[in-house]
Symmetry: C2
Subunit: 238 residues, 2 copies
DNA sequence: ACCACGCAACTTGGCAACAAGATAAGCTTG
DNA sequence: CAAGCTTATCTTGTTGCCAAGTTGCGTGGT
């Protein structure tokens, strides 16, 4: 599909949307109107519009039409900041709720076990929390910790809200998190359900270790998944 | 489209692809095979596969089948680094070529003019360069400078390879770039052609000012657009 | 005059039938 | 026997038709 047949219409509509030519919940031109205007079969127009819907820009109602989805207001997030996500959101005056999604024992996985610097005979627990900012699910924190470092994790797992607080509770007071690797991915259907987002909304994934300062021991490995369309990320010192 | 009919198949295939169950250029199951397996009409399977194609994971050949697209090897890029993109790539031992895509005078735009701190009567020039790393277009640098700060820009515009070098050439030796705002977007058809990428490959956009240290004057405003699937971004000190 | 019903003209949603390209097996012909 | 053509059967690509939901207008009865 080198020369795509629906790229022109996507370009045009996207530009109109980004320029703000449509207001929230405005009706877009119908499939037939666009088909006539661009002189192409309706199915191509339709595919273009479905793509825009999957990207999260518009929604559709059978029998009525297609409409501009209200734009979520953007949160500002400092990727280089030393503040945790929780602190940063609260500091910016947002209403924050954290849902603990429970924990599971993960089967042996080379990448995760080596990140935690534990042997294959150790047990690794995965703890997931969903952060809801101003009633909007925005970030999913997935942390991996080993049972050897946190023996009581299976008792505490369901109640943890912030990993950093838990580390401190367990006696690890001096630790640092090296914000590490950033990548972009698309949501799985589970993530899509949690974030209440469309299928093609890109996610920004930040992976980082948390290292205890004194003994240089790895406390945990955390993957933070952000809905990329809700944030403007900032790279700068605090 | 709350309950999507093609999400299961996308989930499954994406997991198989990411886990590496298919080798490069391996043939995936045909539309009919998947339709029978998932017990859904072929068109739904087809739409799912087209989505994967647009995401850049697979390619198709009429009459033959669908195949796993070879994965580009990932470049490492330090977002917080003080090195310029050019320096960073060369330093990592990559073959780098920069194509100057020419310059144009831009019509008045509030955001750009205010970023450059120039009046509406000033002229602003947009200079675009495409960076090709190991024969692969990877990043697009778009810089805006004003004619009042760089009077000779229209003579030099076509030959600039690196903005930083040009700033230095023009006598501005002490300047700093605050890597600022990061966001994710999708390519326009022009960008898609330049990057030789699929329609739904997310782009990572980094916007930054360059400020002259002595007089605190804004030299230029630069937007760097990266193909997000070619990089693993790193956030850390050099 | 006014209300109710129905029909017509729109909207998006879904799908089946057909077209076109590729490949391999089998038949025909020299 | 071998070369070349045909055909059957795979693959993906395209198109057109009909279903379903919504709205509004017009008509007919009260």
């Amino acid at each position: 599909m080198l020369a795509q047949n629906d790229s022109k219409i996507i370009d045009d509509l996207l530009q109109l949307i980004i320029e703000g030519k449509y207001k929230e919940n405005d009706r877009l031109p119908s499939e037939n109107e666009l088909a006539i205007y661009y002189n192409m079969p309706r199915i191509n127009v339709r595919n273009a519009l479905l793509k825009l819907e999957d990207m999260g820009y518009i929604y559709s109602k059978q029998g009525k039409g297609r409409f501009l989805k209200p734009k979520k207001h953007q949160l500002e997030l400092n990727l280089t900041g030393s503040k945790s996500f929780t602190e940063a959101m609260k500091h910016a005056g947002h209403d924050l709720e954290t849902q603990n999604l429970g924990y599971v024992k993960v089967p042996y996985d080379e990448k995760i076990y080596s990140k935690l610097q534990v042997g294959q005979d150790d047990e690794v627990i995965k703890i997931s929390r969903l952060h809801i900012v101003d009633s909007q699910p925005t970030a999913l924190h997935i942390s991996y910790v080993s049972k050897s470092v946190f023996p009581r994790i299976e008792r505490d797992g369901d109640n943890i809200q912030s990993m950093f607080s838990y580390y401190a509770d367990q006696g690890y007071t001096d630790f640092s998190s090296n914000k590490g690797c950033v990548s972009i991915s698309f949501p799985t259907s589970v993530e899509r359900a949690l974030f209440e987002c469309a299928a093609l909304v890109p996610l920004l994934v930040v992976e980082s270790d948390c290292i205890e300062a004194n003994q240089n021991r790895v406390l945990g490995y955390t993957k933070i998944i952000y809905r990329s369309d809700l944030f403007t990320y900032v790279i700068a010192e605090d």
